[in-house]
Point group: C2
Chain length 270, copies 2
């Protein structure tokens, strides 16, 4: 089953557009996890078990693992999801981007080594830099389009032929690059008007939306701006707001509660 | 010593603007390396020992290691250079890019975990996404500017205020982001006229130029277009043309010969 079908399937099954970011930092883990030989894995397993009926995807951010040499814990986390909850796709948040044979290696990293169902990529190097990812037809390729950080406009907001660069990128992705129907786009939550312009440009291409919760986007406006014609087509990511909902030993139960509330809040706007 | 000073020092000491890319692929290694428990490390050590008096930097491309779980061999390669040839800086070619706390983690990956002297980064997310790297004042931050792949123009070539995006980026990097004087830019070798426009825009900021050798750029034109006012300011990278100069057991000696020829050819145009 291709990634977008897999995503649609679990979105229906779990009545959820919520994606939980698995971005552990050692200093923020509860003592019981830090005491384990694989603290990130212990933390993630508890979070996954507590939320698996409430989410449409998990999104581990690879830098959190790479910074401390925890590649094995990342791999074990992804394996754990595949084995125990095979319906739930894993989006590896890596924001890779390179050309030619090096891009091939990055695609192997994401799809073969880590067995991710989808990966985030950076489009600055152009369409042919994405081909080595896109040719994995059953995998999802989540292209950075519009980010909501203060400097996001430095390049993305520059005007090209009367419209901002990120809309030009959205058009390229939707019209020129999506032959295998496996593209998604990342669009931040902090400016719903921009999200609406991207949605208008790309039809029903799913949008991954970070910035709800810790980064403070307005959920109602995001939903109104981003839903596709079928009242879906969004993957709303929250990381810290869920995984650190409680900093102590009640973290998993607190994560479940936070995920439940956010899932239901999302659904109340569909 | 900051990265750019370190680079200038070794460029003078070794009379060299040549950077060798350490991008091993298992299938292309000679049998004697493949037989080792750490084949990439064995290959790299031989290449390094054969070329250390001829180069101004080594540039391992991280995807080649990450694709096969060889992080330890990457780390050992960098350690080997630091210990045996402490004058030669290591540029980790990772093309990272993310925002906020995640960008911090990527900077830790490059500068703390791997102890690289510089790292390549992707600017699509804007100036604040680069700050977590730039604040390591003694490290180099090598920003993708203009790449020479066929799709390089998809975004980089779009016209913004009458000039291509990559020149806008070059200006941002030189004028707004370079407070710590630790920025370099990546500019491909295949279009010297574009290289000249970047050089004109950025003064003496060093340019990392891939695409000589295997990718076929014209060396004389590149040198004329890219040299700074002091007849330097370039880091000319070659990977496959050097490391695979001979596919058999004579690989290290062949690499030395190829590096010597390319170094001298570069110098003949200074």
């Amino acid at each position: 089953m291709n990634f977008i079908k897999k995503l649609e399937h679990i979105q229906k099954k779990n009545s959820s557009l919520l994606c939980v970011g698995l971005d552990p930092s050692l200093a923020r883990l509860p003592e019981s996890c830090r005491a384990q030989s694989q603290p990130f894995l212990a933390f993630n397993r508890a979070l996954i078990d507590a939320t698996a009926d409430l989410v449409c995807a998990y999104k581990p951010q690879i830098a959190h693992y790479a910074a401390v040499g925890a590649e094995m814990e990342l791999l074990s986390t992804i394996n754990y999801i595949h084995e125990k909850y095979p319906d739930i796709p894993v989006i590896l948040d890596a924001k890779r981007g390179d050309i030619g044979s090096t891009a091939e290696k990055y695609a192997i990293e994401s799809f073969v080594r880590y067995q991710a169902d989808a990966v985030t990529v950076n489009p600055y190097l152009g369409g042919d830099s994405l081909e080595p990812f896109l040719k994995y037809r059953e995998k999802g390729v989540v292209i950075l389009c519009r980010t909501s950080n203060p400097g996001g406009s430095d390049l993305q907001g520059l005007e090209v032929d009367g419209e901002p660069l990120y809309l030009k990128l959205a058009e390229l992705a939707a019209v020129s690059w999506n032959e295998n129907h496996n593209i998604l786009l990342v669009v931040g939550a902090t400016c719903p008007a921009e999200l609406a312009r991207v949605r208008e440009k790309v039809g029903d291409i799913p949008l991954l939306v970070p910035g709800i919760g810790a980064q403070g986007g307005d959920l109602a406006a995001v939903m109104q701006a981003g839903l596709d014609r079928h009242g879906a087509g969004l993957v709303i990511n929250s990381s810290r707001g869920i995984i650190y909902a409680d900093s102590g030993e009640g973290f998993a139960e607190a994560a479940r509660q936070a995920a439940l509330e956010l899932r239901d809040a999302i659904n109340s706007h569909r």
